[in-house]
C-alpha cells in the first residue's frame, strides 16, 4: 500500500524539497476556524498538516500547546464533531487538502473505541496518526488495526532512544519517522541541538522511511540546518501560539487567519531553499 503520506514524500523527494508540516490544534477556538485555517494552509502550499486532538492531560506538550488544548476543550471540543467537520471539508471540491496526520493521545482513542476511532478518522480524510503516548512496545495490536483501516501509524524516535530500540521502532513504522529533535516537550527553541545532525545520520542508516523532525523548530534558519539531512519538518508551538490572538479584541478573525497563513507561506517557501 502506498499511502498519500508516502506519495507526498516521494514527490517532494523527486523535486528535491523538504516537507513542511504545520501542526494546529483542532477546535481552537472552534471547529469553523479550524476548517478555515486548514483552507488557508492549503492555499499557502503546505505539504501535510498535523491535526492535534485536544487532550486534558498532555505530558509531551509544552505550555503553548497545552493552553491551546485547554481553549479548545473549554469551548466544547468533541472528537466526533471534528470528524464530521473534516468529512464535510474533504468533500468540498473547491479545496485541495494536503494529507492530514492526526496527533492524538491513546487515552482518547481507547475511550472512543479503537475501531470506531479509526473508521471515523479514515472517513474524515486522515491519512495517518501519531499517538505520542503509545510507544512501539505497546503499539502492536493498534498498529494492526491501523493498517486494516489503511492509515499510517507514524512512530516517534527520541534522541534518548538507544539503537536496538530504534531498529525495532523503525521496522514497525510507516508513513514517516517522527524524529524528536530534543529530549523534552514541545515548544519553540532558539537553536536546534548540534547532536541532531549525527542522530539523523544514524537514523538514515537504519531506515528508508522519510525522516521528519519536530519539536523546537520555528524559523527558516532551522530549516537550512536540516536540509539534506531530514525529509521534512514539523512546526507546532510557533504556529499554535498565534491562535491565542483569536481572543484579541483588536484583531478580526480574518486578520489572525491571514497572519497564520503568511507565516506558513514563509516557512513553505523556505523548504525550496
Amino acid at each position: 500500500m502506498t499511502s498519500s503520506i508516502s506519495e507526498k514524500f516521494a514527490t517532494l523527494k523527486s523535486e528535491n524539497r523538504m516537507a513542511f508540516m504545520p501542526f494546529i490544534t483542532a477546535g481552537d477556538p472552534d471547529l469553523a476556524t479550524t476548517v478555515d485555517v486548514l483552507k488557508e494552509l492549503a492555499r499557502q502550499g503546505v505539504d501535510l498538516v498535523e491535526v492535534g486532538f485536544p487532550y486534558s492531560d498532555p505530558i509531551a506538550d509544552g505550555p503553548v500547546i497545552q493552553e491551546s488544548y485547554t481553549r479548545a476543550l473549554n469551548n466544547g471540543f468533541h472528537v466526533h464533531d471534528l470528524f464530521e467537520a473534516l468529512k464535510a471539508l474533504s468533500a468540498d471540491e473547491s479545496v485541495s487538502l494536503p494529507p492530514l496526520v492526526g496527533m492524538v493521545s491513546y487515552a482518547i482513542i481507547f475511550r472512543y473505541g479503537a475501531d470506531r476511532f479509526l473508521q471515523e478518522a479514515a472517513d474524515a480524510g486522515f491519512s495517518g496518526l501519531i499517538v505520542p503516548d503509545l510507544p512501539g512496545d505497546e503499539a502492536q495490536e493498534f498498529a494492526e488495526k491501523t493498517r486494516t483501516a489503511q492509515l499510517d501509524l507514524v512512530q516517534l524516535v527520541s534522541p534518548l532512544t538507544p539503537e536496538d530500540r530504534t531498529r525495532r521502532i523503525v521496522q514497525a513504522a510507516n508513513g514517516f519517522i517522527y524524529c524528536i529533535s530534543v529530549a523534552g516537550t514541545t515548544g519553540v527553541r532558539d537553536e536546534l541541538p548540534p547532536e541532531l545532525t549525527a542522530h539523523l545520520e544514524s537514523l538514515r542508516s537504519l531506515t528508508d522511511l522519510p525522516l521528519a523532525v519536530g519539536f523546537g523548530i520555528s524559523k527558516p534558519s532551522h530549516v537550512d540546518t536540516l536540509r539534506g539531512k531530514a525529509d521534512g519538518f514539523i512546526i507546532g508551538s510557533a504556529i499554535v501560539k498565534q491562535f491565542a490572538a483569536f481572543s484579541d479584541p483588536d484583531k478580526t478573525r480574518d486578520e489572525v487567519i491571514s497572519s497564520i497563513g503568511k507565516y506558513a507561506g514563509e516557512m513553505a517557501a523556505a523548504t525550496k531553499g
Binding site: 505530558i59 509531551a60 497545552q66 472512543y112 512496545d137 523534552g184
Partner: protein, 401 residues
C-alpha cells in the same frame, strides 16, 4: 495457598490487562533502566539492609498496631485496630516509599529529584529524603493544594526543596503529575522522578507497592501476635492507592481476610463532585498507565473534588483496577461530611488527630464495626496524622484557630 493475584505485574508491567507504559518515547529508555536497577537492588542484600536500617532508625519502624478501645466501644461491634503510619517521621506512610526511591536515585548516580504532591505529604517525604542524602529536590504542587496545605509547603522549603506551583487545569494533584512528567521529559538523564503513589508507567506501580508493603507485612505479624489470628477485615483509604496497596498486598493470598478500599465520595455521586475512580470510573489511560479513570466519553479526564488534597485524583493505581475486577478487594466511597465526622470522632474518642485522607477509612471502619460481631477484628491503615489539615478543617467547621 498462593493464588496468581499476588504474582503481578509481569515483565511488561501488566496487572492482568492493567498497567503497562503509555508514555512518550523520550521516557521509555529511562523506564527500562529504572526497572533493571530496581530488580538488581531488590536482589541486593546491601540495599535491603540499608533500607531496613533507615526505616528502623530514621523513620521509626515498626510503628504500632494500636487497639482503639474507645472507638470500638463507641461502635459496639467489631474490634478496631489502627496501623499507626501517622507515627512515622513526617507523619505519613509516604516516607516508606521516598526512602526506597532515594536510595535507588543514588544507585543510578542521579543527583536531582522531582516529585509531585497533593496533600503535601509526599512532597515533604521527598524533601526529607533529599535533605537526608543531599539530593536536589523540586516539588510540583497545584496552586489550590498550596492554598490548602500551607504548613507542608513551609516544611518542604525549610528542608531545602523548591516548591513549584502549578496553575494549569484544576490546580490539584493531577496537574502536578502532568507538570512533573513534563519536567522529567527534559531532565530524564540527570533526574529521578519519585512518583508518590502506585500510579504511572511500569515499574512505578510495582516498586511503590513493594516499598509500601512494609505496612501490611508489619500489620499482619502484629495482628497475629496481638490477637492470635489474621484480621477479618482490612480497610484503607485510596487516593492514588499507595497506602492501601501497601496494606493489602501482604493479605492478598489470605482469602479469609476481607479487604476494603475507601475512596473520596466528595459531595456526592454526580460527575465532578467526587474522586471515586473505582466506584464510578471507566477503563482508560492516564499518566502513563492503563486503569480506571474518571473521564468523559471522549477520554478527557474529568474534574474531581474531595475535601482531602491527597485523595483528589481522577485515576488510581493499575493494581487496584486489577483487584477490583478480580473481586478480591471491595471499593466504596465516603463523603466529605462523613470524613469530617470521622475526623472529629477519632479526635474526641482516641486523642488522635488523623489526616483527613485517613478519616475516610476511619468513617468507613465505624460503619463496618457496627455491622460486625465483637469477635471480629478490623485493621485500619491510619495513613497519616492531621496536623496539615487542621486549618482546613477549622475553616470547614466555621471555627477560628
Amino acid at each position: 495457598m498462593t493464588t496468581s493475584l499476588s504474582n503481578v505485574p509481569d515483565s511488561s508491567g501488566r496487572f492482568g490487562e492493567f498497567g503497562r507504559r503509555f508514555v512518550p518515547e523520550t521516557l521509555m529508555h529511562a523506564l527500562e533502566e529504572l526497572t533493571q536497577e530496581y530488580e538488581k537492588a531488590k536482589q541486593d542484600p546491601a540495599f535491603q539492609a540499608e533500607l531496613d536500617d533507615l526505616l528502623k532508625h530514621y523513620v521509626g519502624r515498626p510503628n504500632p498496631l494500636y487497639f482503639a478501645e474507645r472507638l470500638t466501644e463507641h461502635c459496639g461491634g467489631g474490634k478496631i485496630y489502627f496501623k499507626r503510619e501517622d507515627l512515622n517521621h513526617t507523619g505519613a506512610h509516604k516516607i516508606n516509599n521516598t526512602m526506597g526511591q532515594a536510595l535507588l536515585t543514588m544507585r543510578m548516580g542521579k543527583k536531582r529529584v522531582i516529585a509531585e504532591t497533593g496533600a503535601g505529604q509526599h512532597g515533604v517525604a521527598s524533601a526529607v529524603a533529599c535533605a537526608r542524602f543531599g539530593l536536589e529536590c523540586i516539588v510540583y504542587m497545584g496552586e489550590e493544594d498550596i492554598r490548602r496545605q500551607k504548613l507542608n509547603v513551609f516544611n518542604m522549603k525549610m528542608m531545602g526543596a523548591e516548591v513549584r506551583g502549578v496553575s494549569s487545569g484544576s490546580k490539584t494533584l493531577r496537574d502536578a503529575v502532568n507538570e512533573a512528567m513534563r519536567d522529567w521529559m527534559s531532565s530524564v538523564e540527570t533526574t529521578h522522578y519519585i512518583i508518590g503513589s502506585v500510579i504511572g508507567p511500569h515499574p512505578f506501580p510495582m516498586m511503590v507497592r513493594d516499598f509500601q508493603s512494609v505496612i501490611g507485612k508489619e500489620a499482619r505479624e502484629q495482628c497475629l501476635a496481638q490477637t492470635g489470628k489474621l484480621p477479618d477485615h482490612v480497610i484503607a483509604c485510596v487516593g492514588g492507592g499507595s497506602n492501601s496497596a501497601g496494606m493489602f498486598y501482604p493479605f492478598i493470598d489470605d482469602e479469609g481476610v476481607k479487604l476494603t478500599g475507601v475512596e473520596a465520595g466528595g459531595r456526592g455521586p454526580e460527575p465532578g463532585e467526587h474522586a471515586s475512580t473505582l466506584s464510578y470510573g471507566a477503563k482508560g489511560v492516564l499518566h502513563g498507565s492503563f486503569g480506571y479513570v474518571l473521564q468523559d466519553d471522549d477520554g478527557q479526564t474529568m474534574d474531581v473534588h474531595s475535601i482531602s488534597a491527597g485523595l483528589d485524583y481522577p485515576g488510581v493505581g493499575p493494581e487496584h483496577s486489577y483487584w477490583k475486577d478480580s473481586g478480591r478487594v471491595n471499593y466504596t466511597a465516603i463523603t466529605d461530611d462523613e470524613a469530617l465526622e470521622g475526623f472529629q470522632t477519632m479526635a474526641r474518642l482516641e486523642g488522635i488527630i488523623p489526616a483527613i485522607e485517613s478519616s475516610h477509612a476511619i468513617a468507613y471502619a465505624v460503619k463496618a464495626a457496627r455491622q460486625a460481631s465483637p469477635d471480629e477484628t478490623i485493621v485500619v491503615c491510619l495513613s497519616g496524622r492531621g496536623d496539615k489539615d487542621v486549618n482546613e478543617v477549622a475553616r470547614l467547621l466555621g471555627r477560628e484557630i
